[in-house]
């Protein structure tokens, strides 16, 4: 087999020259031993390092004869079959296998790798010794992270604000929707539209407008009419100022007393006197005496309760005569059906809801003892209560009947009235009738007089005789103011653990019904104090007062402007 061995000789930087010689033999041995076909005087080659055998049609088989192997096309191998053009590097020598040319069976080109190129190769083979040379980087991960978070965390949810349908789609996809922006759980009342941020957050970068709230809360009353009270704070006050959502299911009413005190501490100056409300900043330390509603009547007898600061010994006038002491007598009272002991609850029953007390009713409470009978011969007959006209009518009607049918065994009555009619006796003569009815009238008037002025009405009511030419007695109207403290919310229900006298101490001793038995602020302060109370019930304004109290103005109206 004829091998062409072409040596490339490098003259200087540029010029090359070739030198061919021929080798006979079927394998081409490579090594440092002098008997090798290709003799490499290089320590990096073994004595007989490798052998190449031509397989014909331009294929070669390269076998390494030592454990170190041989580097073919840059890879260490022990034996491999390659085509022409394969490159073997061994120390400072490069063998390039060539196509078969001329009348040779195989051809190989031997060239030297000069020192600088060897160095280059070595440095190319060097593994990185420094992280900055490896694949990891700081830059692209940074960009990746940056855009991922920005894209999915901000831009995608933000687009849902522009593309309406998108949010729905996102919610049913693993991708983050605007829910990803939700900073905290939404109040239970709002849960059923919690998924749609735009219900409340209508305009981006604007705080939630009241409009958003009043779409539902339209009838909620406003606080005060900013038109009347020029307080900037009042105008600025948004629903959101007191009602912050995203703070969990439990309600969203801010009971912070500063919310009120901020304005009410110096309301007069703020409104330049437009407001008459007394300045208040803390129940414990800076709250004025309560203003109590006392019953009163205008000139034309209209009931017009008047509010005035509470003070001990303040008298009220409800038009009723009543002696608490007598009724609450510890030895009890004699009643038609035996001895009875009364307590507050006998007359003062809480109304449904238990906030206030039912009005006192004569029928249920007084009538049991205070009967309205007027004739001893007919002890069961009574006059109706609380209607003077009806009383007169009843009496007239009763006595006329008695006079005409007779048999009324009263010595002072005319005989015609006393004698009993037998069956078949002739009807009364005209003249007899006149006599009987005249008696009846006198009797009725007498009875009325005794009722009103004597035994019945006058005990509880102030009574005045009929006007001239009239026969109906006049009874002054009776009325308690009902809600004593109109501006505050007091609930007996919340105070059930107390006894009545704890607050209404005077009751047991009160003999006159015009004693004011409603307690003042001191009484409350025994237990309640302001927001920062220590060792007492900390009560902020919201505990008794409401915010949405404007008599006429509702929120939606207000938020119109």
């Amino acid at each position: 087999m004829r091998w062409l061995i072409r040596r490339v000789l490098k003259k200087s930087t540029s010029s090359l020259s070739y030198e061919d010689d021929i080798h006979f033999g079927d394998v081409l041995t490579i090594g440092r031993a002098s008997d090798q076909a290709i003799f490499l005087p290089d320590l990096r080659a073994a004595l007989n390092h490798a052998s190449i055998s031509a397989l014909g049609n331009g294929k070669y088989r390269i076998e390494s004869l030592i454990v170190a192997g041989i580097r073919v096309n840059g890879e260490i191998t022990y034996s491999t079959t390659v085509g022409a053009g394969a490159v073997i590097e061994l120390g400072s020598t490069r063998l390039t296998l060539l196509d078969i040319r001329g009348d040779f069976d195989a051809a190989v080109e031997v060239s030297t790798i000069d020192k600088s190129e060897q160095a280059a190769i070595v440095s190319r083979r060097k593994k990185p010794t420094n992280l900055s040379q490896t694949w990891i980087s700081k830059r692209w991960p940074s960009w990746l992270g940056f855009f991922l978070v920005l894209g999915f965390g901000l831009l995608l949810p933000a687009t849902t604000h522009i593309v309406p349908g998108l949010n729905k789609i996102l919610r049913y996809s693993p991708l983050p929707s605007t829910a990803f922006w939700n900073p905290g759980e939404i109040d239970s009342a709002h849960q059923f539209f919690a998924k749609d941020c735009t219900r409340c957050h209508q305009h981006p970068f604007l705080m939630v407008r009241d409009k958003a709230c009043t779409t539902c809360h339209k009838n909620t009353k406003a606080h005060a009419d900013p038109a009347k009270f020029n307080i900037p704070a009042l105008g600025d006050a948004r629903c959101g100022t007191c009602h912050q959502d995203h703070n969990g299911k439990r309600g969203m009413v801010s009971t912070d007393q500063r919310l009120c005190a901020d304005c009410h501490a110096d309301l007069k100056e703020r409104t330049q006197g437009a407001s008459a409300i007394v300045d208040v900043s803390d129940f414990g330390s800076a709250h004025p005496q309560f203003h109590v509603n006392l019953p009163g009547w205008s000139a034309d007898d209209q009931f017009t309760p008047k509010s005035m600061p509470w003070s001990s010994g303040l008298k009220e006038n409800s038009g009723l005569k009543f002696n608490h002491e007598k009724h609450l007598d510890s030895k009890g009272l004699n009643t038609p059906d035996g001895r009875k002991f009364l307590s507050c609850a006998n007359c003062h029953e809480p109304e449904a809801g238990g906030a206030a007390m039912k009005p006192i009713a004569f029928e249920g409470m007084c009538h049991e003892c205070h009967k309205l009978g007027f004739d001893t011969l007919a002890p069961d007959r009574e006059v109706p209560h609380a209607n003077a006209a009806a009383v007169t009518y009843t009496l007239n009607e009763f006595y006329s009947q008695r006079g005409l049918e007779g048999g009324y065994s009263d010595a002072r009555a005319p005989t015609i009235v006393q004698q009993r009619r037998r069956p078949g006796s002739p009807p009364l003569s005209r003249q007899e009738q006149v006599e009987a009815l005249a008696w009846a009238r006198d009797r009725a008037q007498e009875a009325a007089k005794t009722l009103f002025t004597g035994k019945a009405c006058v005990t509880c009511h102030s009574v005045s005789p009929p006007a001239a030419g009239k026969d109906i007695w006049r009874v002054a109207p009776v009325r308690v103011s009902g809600i004593w403290y109109a501006k505050a919310r007091f609930s007996h229900a919340k105070h059930q653990t107390n006894d009545c006298v704890d607050c209404h101490a005077g009751a047991a001793k009160s003999e006159a019904s015009n004693d004011l038995l409603i307690p003042g602020i001191e009484n409350c302060k025994e237990c309640h104090a302001g927001a920062y109370a220590k060792g007492m019930v900390a009560s902020t304004c919201i505990a008794c007062h409401g915010y949405h109290v404007s008599p006429e103005l509702t929120l939606d109206k207000r938020s119109q402007k």
Binding site: S12, K115, A119
Partner: protein
């Protein structure tokens, strides 16, 4: 009968060439003798494509041949053209072997090639480089035999024989071996002549077999071959018979013959043995030998333009035409602020008359001296320099007076006309020891360090005078506060200058304490033998004194004083000193106080020997001559190389600092960076005087650097290298965000760099003197590992490191 010329010019360097050209222009009979086959060998041997500068820019060129800054090739080309154009009579291959002046005033010039020439006047323009030694065997001039090497990269795959055992030969051989087969031929059996580093390198290379070496061998002949792969062969005489080497190239580095011997052979005398000294020549460049003129580097003018001007002028002088030297206008300009003085020459004469120390120097030296110097007329009370400034120029008072405020002296010292000052810093290379303010109508000459040193080296008298004054003042500044003039004078009379090599003992522990040493140049370490180990106690910088302890208390030395670097001290005789202090109780008290303090400090150091080790380690790194050195605490250094990046970024892309290189001891690492030596080696030989010392002590390189590379060679710490200015870098954010352009510290890619080489200039650490915040390397260190400290702080530093 030898042919005769009016002017014979030896050496075709800038000086000689310009002289010859001028002569030719004037049709004077002349000959230009050049040893080489080409003109101006020194420049010819510059690296290919080297950019040659034309400093000093202010100096006008006057010469028939053109010269301006440019590439070596263009300049040489222009000169060749000019020579042919002017029909200069050049004789190549004429190496002059001897010049003799006959009694009849005619010079006989003998050449190596046997030729002999007569001339009425001779101009020596042979420069300082001398002639390269050749192989001295047959075939020494074959084309493939060369005597220098521009660029080792240029050759690859060749067989190259390097002849020589010097540093040049070794450096070439090692460089070439990267991509050639190199054989080195050494006449001896070792490389003793070479620097340690080079010797190690070559021996290793031979060990590894990358370089083949023939010891005890000498070339017998070199032949060109017509047949075979190699163009030539060399026959060697080796210890065991002859050998033949087939080769592509021979590079012979056999050193050069220094010109001094030859020049002295011509009868020219040098002022002293100092190799830096130059022969004294007149204002007409005439040496002590009548009719023998010296121009260029040999005369002490290393710059091309100077030499050319001189060449022109010298011909004018020889032919008897008076010509004002080219530098005259410059000098005139200097005297403008000096009223009432006529011509330049009168002014110079006046100054020499007024200032005795300058009176000894030749008019030409005076011109040169004034050219570098400045005339200053400060207003009364103006501060000339502050105490602790780092300036080191030298002042001579021409008129009026100055006041020197000396430490611990109420009244200022007054110096008057004829006195000089500033010599202390000039000599010790340290900060100013006192503040000097101008007195009434004061006129003085300020001379930069370099030209003053040049003067001191070349004029013995000047040196003597300055040394004398230095000693007196040194003593004054130490003891003046107590002693009076007479006593001081007496002390001075007993004072002698002493030199110590690095590591030499000034005195040893236990010696008889017979003297006191004021450190004048350099620095000392004080050490004590503890447990058989020399423990360094402290470091004494120039300007301080040692050895007084023995004179005060016990009579024998309590510790050894060693020169940390080459050091000069003023030795004060012990007896005289003892008398002095016995006579002056005040002085005694003061010295005793200082004595106590020192003892305390020493004990403190003794308590922690480790610290001492650190000092001695630093000293071993040559920190002894430093004024400011960069130290890295390797227990803090996270190897982020931010210091190097900072350096590169603040200095146009090239770092002047190599963090990793350099030794480490007890976690203290001394990286390769400038220490701003007291006597900077780099300043030694800078043709354009581009190396300067800023008032704060930074040694820096000004823009007029000509890139000759002397400083690079002279720096023993390898902290200077040559670099060309890289182009502008894109903004940081571009890289930070997009990875565009070079990162911090990476030099920006310069496409032009390969095509036209820009001027390469020397770069070195300038301690960021132009940076507002100070040294960038220190400011950029994120972990506080890098600090810069001065030797005075070493003891404190050492203690902080326990």
């Amino acid at each position: 009968m030898a042919e005769r010329f009016k002017i014979a010019i030896v050496g075709s360097g800038p000086g000689g060439l310009s002289a010859a050209a001028r002569a030719a222009e004037r049709n004077e009979s002349h000959v230009l003798l050049e040893a080489e086959p080409h003109l101006s060998n020194t420049i010819f041997q510059y690296q290919k494509g080297k950019f040659v500068m034309d400093e000093p820019g202010i100096l006008p060129l006057r010469s028939p041949i053109p010269f301006e800054a440019g590439l070596r090739e263009t300049i040489l080309g222009a000169w060749d053209d000019a020579t042919t154009r002017l029909k200069v009579n050049v004789r190549h291959q004429h190496e002059v072997s001897a010049i003799k002046r006959r009694d009849d005033g005619i010079f006989e010039i003998k050449c190596k090639n046997g030729q002999s020439i007569e001339a009425e006047a001779v101009v020596l323009g042979i420069g300082l480089q001398g002639n390269l030694r050749k192989l001295g065997v047959a075939g020494e001039d074959l084309p493939f035999v060369q005597y220098q090497l521009d660029d080792p990269e240029a050759y690859e795959g060749e067989t190259i024989v390097v002849v020589g055992a010097g540093d040049a030969a070794i450096e070439n051989a090692v460089a070439l071996a990267k991509q050639n087969n190199v054989v080195i031929v050494n006449r001896k059996d070792e490389f003793g002549r070479a620097k340690k580093g080079n010797e190690a390198a070559i021996l290793k290379a031979i060990e590894d077999g990358t370089i083949e070496c023939y010891y005890n061998s000498a070339p017998e002949k070199v032949e060109a071959l017509s047949a075979g792969r190699k163009p030539g062969r060399m026959i060697l005489n080796t210890a065991n018979g002859r050998a033949q080497i087939l080769l592509d190239r021979v590079i012979a580095r056999l050193g050069a013959t220094a010109p001094r011997g030859f020049v002295e052979g011509c009868g020219v005398v040098f002022p002293n043995k100092d190799p830096a000294s130059v022969p004294a020549i007149s204002a007409q460049y005439e040496s002590n030998v009548k009719g023998l003129y010296i121009v260029g580097a040999l005369g002490g003018y290393p710059l091309i333009k100077q030499a050319m001007n001189q060449g022109y002028e010298v011909v004018e002088y020889i032919t008897g035409t008076a010509v004002e030297p080219a530098d005259a206008p410059l000098l005139k300009a200097k005297f403008t602020n000096l009223k009432g003085i006529g011509s330049v020459d009168q002014a110079l004469a006046q100054i020499q008359k007024n200032v005795p120390v300058l009176s000894h120097i030749t008019p030409l030296q005076m011109r040169e001296f004034m050219l570098d110097s400045d005339i200053r007329t400060p207003a009364e009370g103006e501060v000339i320099f502050e105490r602790n400034d780092y300036t080191n120029s030298f002042y001579s008072i021409v008129e009026g007076e100055v006041r020197i405020a000396v430490e611990g002296r109420p009244a200022p010292v007054i110096l008057r006309r004829g006195d000089f000052f500033g010599e202390m810093s000039l000599i010790s290379g340290r900060r100013r020891s006192a503040t000097v303010t101008a007195g009434a109508n004061c006129i003085m000459v300020e001379t930069p360090r370099r030209s003053m040193n040049k003067l001191i080296n070349s004029v013995e008298a000047v040196k003597a005078e300055i040394d004398r004054v230095f000693i007196i003042r040194a003593i004054q500044s130490r003891f003046a506060s107590e002693a009076n003039a007479a006593q001081l004078a007496e002390m001075a009379s007993h004072a002698t200058l002493q030199r110590f090599k690095a590591g030499e003992y000034v005195f040893k522990e236990g010696d008889e304490g017979d003297s006191l040493h004021l450190v004048r140049i350099g620095s000392l370490t004080i050490s004590r033998l503890i447990g058989g180990k020399d423990i360094v106690l402290t470091y004494v910088a120039a300007g301080n004194y040692v050895g007084e302890m023995a004179l005060m208390g016990e009579s024998s030395r309590s510790a050894s004083a060693r020169a940390a670097i080459a050091t000069e001290t003023i030795r004060l005789d012990g007896k005289a000193f003892k008398q002095l202090i016995s006579r002056i109780p005040a002085l005694k008290l003061r010295l005793q106080k200082e004595f106590k303090e020192r003892t305390a400090a020493n004990l403190a150091m003794q308590a922690m020997p480790g610290g001492g080790d650190i000092i001695s380690f630093l000293m071993a790194q040559g920190a002894g001559e430093a004024t400011d050195i960069l130290l890295i605490d390797e227990s803090l250094c996270v190897r982020c190389d931010n210091c190097e990046k900072a350096c590169a970024e603040t200095h146009g892309g090239t770092s002047r600092l190599d963090r990793e290189a350099g030794p480490t001891f007890a976690n203290v690492h001394v990286p390769t960076s400038c220490r701003h030596c007291e006597h900077p080696h780099c300043m030694k030989d800078c043709p354009p005087d581009a190396l300067r010392r800023a008032p704060n002590g930074e040694v820096f390189i000004t823009d007029n650097c000509i890139g000759c590379g002397n400083c690079e060679r002279n720096c023993p710490y390898g902290v200077i290298h040559m670099a060309s200015k890289p182009p502008k870098k894109p903004g940081l954010l571009q890289w930070l965000l997009l990875g565009r352009g070079p990162g911090p510290g990476e030099a920006p890619y310069d496409p032009k760099a390969t095509k036209d080489p820009k001027a390469k200039k020397a770069v070195k650490c300038d301690m960021c003197k132009d940076q507002a915040g100070g040294a960038a390397c220190v400011r950029a260190c994120p972990t506080g590992a890098a600090i810069r400290i001065s030797p005075e702080e070493f003891p404190t530093y050492a203690q902080s490191r326990r």
